[in-house]
Subunit: 208 residues, 2 copies
């Protein structure tokens, strides 16, 4: 099993620009990546981090400035050639992942295992079918389901909130403080973010 963590290192997390400066977005992206790398490593796997630009990480980082689709599709074409080798791809903005949620992703023996993200994304997958390819644009989870079925591939979905919670928008930050004590949660706390309870869902505010 080859496990890749692609990350956007050049101008990361632009949808957090209303609450974080460019330098802070980079620091926070690195903290989230550290959480993912830690979970994968603790689950007994060696993550390969591939970033569009250099960034700090506890494991070696390969720099590759291609967009996500061509990068991942090239990895699929070069790795999953005859069914012997599987490729897992786990996004870098999943600070809630634990070793157990990584194990749950890797457990099913299907040709394609999909972990949906909130809002129609595909936050992680495992592929054992030589012809499966990705397209992360739009409602990618729906397209990936259909692509796999069109190939006659067996498909499994992992029902995990931790794998589903990618941190893209200010409204997502509360999930980190609620459900993690990793590097990203530490970074948010040290940067002054606190939970605020309202009538509906909990949000965050920045106190300094």
């Amino acid at each position: 099993m080859r496990l890749v963590v692609p990350v956007s290192g050049s101008d990361p997390k632009t949808r957090l620009a209303s609450v974080l400066s460019p330098d802070e977005r980079r620091d926070f992206a690195e903290a989230m990546l550290a959480d993912v790398v830690d979970a994968v490593t603790a689950a007994g796997h060696e993550p390969e981090v591939i970033s569009t630009a250099p960034l700090d990480c506890a494991v070696p980082v390969t720099v590759d400035d291609r967009r996500l689709d061509p990068l991942v599709n090239d990895l699929l074409a070069s790795t999953v050639t005859n069914g012997d080798e599987a490729l897992a791809v786990v996004m870098a903005d999943l600070p809630l992942v634990t070793p157990k949620s990584i194990e749950r992703l890797l457990a099913p023996d299907a040709d394609v295992v999909l972990a949906p993200g909130l809002g129609g994304g595909t936050n992680a997958f495992v592929c054992r079918h030589p012809e499966f390819r990705v397209d992360y644009h739009g409602a990618s989870i729906r397209d990936h389901r259909e692509n796999a079925q069109d190939l006659g591939a067996s498909v499994a979905e992992v029902d995990s909130r931790r794998l589903a919670t990618d941190i893209d928008e200010p409204g997502d930050l509360a999930e980190v403080l609620l459900h993690s004590d990793g590097a990203a949660a530490d970074w948010l706390e040290q940067s002054g973010f606190e939970l605020t309870a309202a009538d509906g869902r909990v949000d965050v505010q920045r106190c300094r």
Copy 2:
């Protein structure tokens, strides 16, 4: 195992008022309840539906107009008295739940099993400890964790996106169309809701 589904039947889903009329909110709430009742029944359990006002449901509905906290805490006090009988409470606005996600909720042998909702809520729980009580205000998942730990109760959390996805706000509706083919998804489709892909997460628009 006693399994209760509490539902607000009087003026349901007020946070959907910008996209649904009062009658539509009631119909949609009934469709979501049908999905939850179907999943629980298919998992081999008999759901007890308790609503603040009469509504249509395939199983008998008990009307009890108390607020959620006193209702559930009274159920806990009367049901979980000596550790022999467990109480499960599953919210009625979880149209993504499947029999399997219900089984996962009921599987752990802990005193308190919690299924977090998005935004700090507690979408479902199982209790086998006679002193555990609920408080759904604010970041309830954090309070429920702490309450259980203060009692010395063993605590398990279920990592399920399907149990985590409560449908409260217009932005949640896309999850129903993306991940369910049950009554709530049918109702949305028949009411003209369609997925719309943007740069970030998928949303819905109403076409008629």
